[in-house]
């Protein structure tokens, strides 16, 4: 809605790839900026969904024997919920390092798609600035920003994205710390770590949106259950890889 000088500061027009820091900016503090605030405002409903997810990441970390520094270190360095929960789960069951890393990496492969999809919107910024923006890329920040950029071409790309992505980052870190503290005080009988598969379930259901994706989910889950006894916790990877293969086969031969 607001224009606030974006067309003047070269957001959309300046092709020179000055490899400097942030694009020039009418409001260096950024905190009172309309586009940043719009990003924060639009992401607020999603923060309500992220907060319990972050709490669970903290709770599960404690349960798996991680300390506060490790839990927060993971939330800052990895900053990708589903992969963190999977890694914590595997660490808790004493899986080998390669399986923990391999599983988390497969889960985060989807970021490549987000990166490709949002890249044109950041094309005019300097390389280092883009490298900073990339760190904050998440499912939610991606989905919200790309939808807004398509609906509103006047919107400052980096400011709107930054507002949404940074708010997610802050809530994620605070939620992790609170989860570690809370998780240490809740009796095991409550089974709070059961919330981990529930989070995945809430993400899974909307991801199965047509025949091939549904087939991928059904196959991935079935194989993972059948292979649950495999050594080195390889059942998860076996399920994931078979699910992807079945999705592709269904796409090709399905209809």
């Amino acid at each position: 809605m607001t224009v606030d000088g974006d067309l003047l500061d070269g957001d959309a027009a300046d092709p020179s790839d000055g490899d400097a820091s942030a694009p020039s900016d009418g409001d260096p503090s950024g905190l009172t900026d309309g586009d940043i605030r719009a990003g924060v405002r639009d992401v607020s409903p999603l923060l309500l969904g992220i907060a319990p997810f972050a709490l669970i990441a903290g709770i599960a970390a404690v349960d798996a024997g991680l300390g506060l520094a490790e839990a927060v270190g993971m939330s800052v360095i990895v900053f990708a919920g589903a992969s963190q929960l999977a890694a914590i789960d595997l660490i808790g069951s004493n899986a080998p390092l390669a399986v923990v890393v391999g599983t988390a990496v497969v889960i985060n492969l989807r970021m490549v798609m987000y990166s490709a999809s949002i890249a044109p919107h950041f094309a005019d910024y300097g390389r280092r600035f883009r490298a900073g923006l990339a760190y904050l890329l998440t499912d939610q920040a991606y989905a919200l920003s790309v939808a807004e950029f398509e609906a509103n071409s006047e919107r400052s790309r980096w400011r709107y994205y930054f507002g949404a992505a940074a708010a997610l980052w802050v809530v994620w870190q605070i939620g992790t710390v609170v989860g570690v503290v809370v998780g240490a005080g809740v009796p095991d009988a409550w089974g709070l770590t059961f919330a981990v598969p529930l989070v995945f379930l809430a993400l899974l259901v909307p991801a199965m949106k047509d025949r091939p994706t549904t087939a991928a989910g059904v196959a991935g889950g079935t194989i993972a259950v059948a292979a649950a006894g495999l050594p080195l916790n390889l059942g998860l990877l076996a399920g994931a890889v078979s699910g992807i293969a079945v999705g592709l086969l269904t796409e090709v031969y399905g209809s």
Binding site: M74, P96, M113, A119, G191, P197, V199, P212, V225, G239
Partner: protein, 119 residues
């Protein structure tokens, strides 16, 4: 569910190593096309097509083993508080697509079975 351990997670060092390696790989994925844009503008179809199936396949492979444990009889497999709570949560996820409602519904169902029904 403990698997064999080539490099078991005994110490903090392995945990930090896992965190750093996962973090670096994830950052590489995030940066990939944002960095390369201009040289490679489109994800090649050969990469894009399988990527579409990563979320449902991986998420289902994460969820189901936590809800289902195959037991000798079908009845014993189905009469599991985690599976029932998961089914309730699945319906809520399907109807509302709300993470918080899904977690709440699943946890409350689990607690009902754990603390009320089977007492």
């Amino acid at each position: 569910m403990t698997g064999g351990s080539l490099i078991p997670f005994g110490g903090s060092l392995e945990v930090w190593l896992a965190i750093v390696v996962i973090g670096l790989a994830t950052y590489g994925f995030r940066l990939s096309f944002i960095h390369l844009f201009g040289r490679i503008d489109e994800v090649p179809a050969r990469i894009k097509r399988p990527l579409r199936y990563v979320p449902p396949a991986v998420l289902a492979a994460l969820v189901l083993p936590d809800l289902v444990t195959v037991r000798p009889s079908v009845a014993a497999t189905l009469a599991d508080e985690r599976l029932i709570a998961g089914a309730v949560a699945g319906v809520i996820a399907w109807r509302t697509e709300d993470v918080t409602a899904t977690i709440a519904g699943g946890m409350v169902t689990l607690w009902l079975f754990r603390f009320v029904v089977f007492v």
